[in-house]
Amino acid sequence: INLCHLLSTIDMGIFQRFARIPLKSTYIWSLCRQYSTDLTAVDRALIQHRCVHNRGLGASPGNPGAAPPRLPFSRVTQEDLAFFRTLLPGRTITDPDLLKSSNVDWLKTVEGNSEVLLRPKTTEEVSQILRYCNERNLAVCPQGGNTGLVGGSVPVFDEIILSTSLMKQVITFDNISGILTCQAGCVLENLSNYLEERDFIMPLDLGAKGSCHIGGNVSTNAGGLRLLRYGSLRGTVLGLEVVLADGRILNCLATLRKDNTGYDLKQLFIGSEGTLGVITAVSILCPRKPKAVNVAFLGCSSFQQLLETFQCCRGMLGEILSAFEFLDASCMSLLEKHLKLTNPITESPFYIVIETAGSNATHDEEKLHKFLEEVMTSSLVTDGTVATEATKIKALWSLRERVTEALTHEGYTYKYDISLPVEKIYDLVQDMRGHLGDMAKNVVGYGHVGDGNLHLNITSPSKDPALLAAIEPYVYEWTSKWKGSISAEHGLGLKKRNYIYYSKPSEAVALMGSIKAMLDPKGILNPYKTLPDNIH
């Protein structure tokens, strides 16, 4: 810390007490001779920017999802910028226009004001960045594709954004074992394309595949559409390379299917949402590309019949079933209204998307046709259509995958990602509709019904605190009552960190806090996220 920095801190302190002007006005900075000569026009603009936006809204009992006050991390100085610019020439972004998109989440509901975006290309660079930030007590927000839905991927205040967008190399692929090793910044869709050329596929698939990074997927333990068939990342990820808060590189990038030597550290980082370490490389087990993929889109007149269809499906299609998703009639009308997609079948209260994936087209079609005949004749299903060609399959999948996009056109979306016993899934949607009445514009339900995972979405034309107060904590209490999870796959991020107690006992959360303190004593990695505020 140089003397001038120290002086300016003292000056600011004195001034704040006596003059009661905002802590960061340009005038105070100019008091320090050193800074007044070094300030450029851009710097002044940055300081003004800080002054306007630097108000920690503070999580209050009425609003546990809002940001807490800013913790006393250091602020980025010219020297810090000089260090970063030397380490990452041309890849240290400070232009506010370029930073804008990285400061706002995909849902456009959370905005930070980071002033520095770093784009390392190698694990070594990430290590040096973190070592430096740890010494300087600078907070860091790791960012992949920025498609997270709980405000975990963007800074809350001025945390430095550490982006994996340039770490997009595939390191190795073994086409006998199907084990892929790649850097954390590889986009999921690109990995899928790479693997498909080699007759394999990624074990996970989600609507955000065109933008999300595999590192982000692993840090959030993303679920997705194929979990039903291939399991979660906790099973398919074989190894990780992680950079810890102090810059140490933890290379657990094993490519072994079985390795019982000591504690399985990678499981700590999977789902840790960037708070325990920055994932820089992943090795993952990939399944063979199925020779035959079929998608059926069915309509059901009641949720009970949907569940019976699921049971029938499990029985008749068991080994080839690779996805079982649902959406309700409200979702379909939003898709038709905002995205101009057409409903391929007659209108029904519920729609199911079933995907089968197998090694023999004739066998699978026979199984599928028998199943469809069964559900049609027993009237479990009222209408449906089947697709075997890639373009038609994509079209049918888009009816499920693009619901999230359609919802963004309705104004402000309140998203809830809940795990419940399968029979109770739609009860929550109907309950919420009754409970909210006219306050909400739409209450829709869709999701991975096969995994017991509901995506409950409520929209209003704009942010409405009264509506939020009606939804929360009612929805969490409801979930807790049925021993469900308040965040099945989206994670906790910023928005849900304080709700962790609805699904985890306090002893567990306390232990999580201890682990965090051990791995990141200064708390610089993605602060204000995942763990509740009272953990400190």
Binding site: K291, L298, P344, M376, D383, T385, E389, A390, T391, K392
Partner: protein, 264 residues
Amino acid sequence: MLPLRFRRVTMSARVLVGVKRVIDYAVKIRVKPDRTGVVTDGVKHSMNPFCEIAVEEAVKLKEKKLVKEVVAVSCGPQQVQETIRTALAMGADRGIHVEVSGKDYETLGPLQVSKIFAALAKKEQADLIILGKQAIDDDCNQTGQMTAALLDWPQGTFASEVTLEADKLKVVREIDGGLETIKIKLPAVVTADLRLNTPRYATLPNIMKAKKKKIVNVKPADLGVDVSSRLEVLKVDEPPQRQSGVKVETVHDLVEKLKEAGRI
């Protein structure tokens, strides 16, 4: 009161729709190592997209009660029956499978197919033939035109809109300069372009019904058609690999590089 002629045409009007089984639009095509053609074994096939549009248009005409029967026709080996079944699931009434297999199938092209269609049109007493404007595997865009010529029927090709008016067909065609509207007398040949309609999804009840619809097998010889080809494929190659571009930092660099490449 409609003129007698019009009533005869519409009340008993029969439409023949050609459906071709081609490699699926989304599949990555690979050339066979011996460069005699592309790999088709084990590759996903589906109905030619323009043929789907043709079927949709025919079914729409039937739903409007402007035609009485829609017959789906396909030429090829056993597998084309799947394609005919898809047409039946979309609403066609019955199918005709013209059996062509082996070497004959490999060399089957627009000339032979149009002869087959001309023969079938006479045999089935069709009033209208709707085909896709072209197939996505050979991109020939010839079958419709040749069929019309062999039958000496008028043709409305690249149709983006088809309306039955009295005993004439009003066809809006997509041409280079824009849209051309023509009126042609029935019987006629129409080829479907992309914007004619959006093909429906075959729904399960229709897929079930389609299983009971009839598909009749016919040999080209029965129609008096010789399917031998007058064309010989010499070789098939992949298109040349696209060279990657070069990024330059400044306008000056760009000018230098263009000069180096002899472009300026």
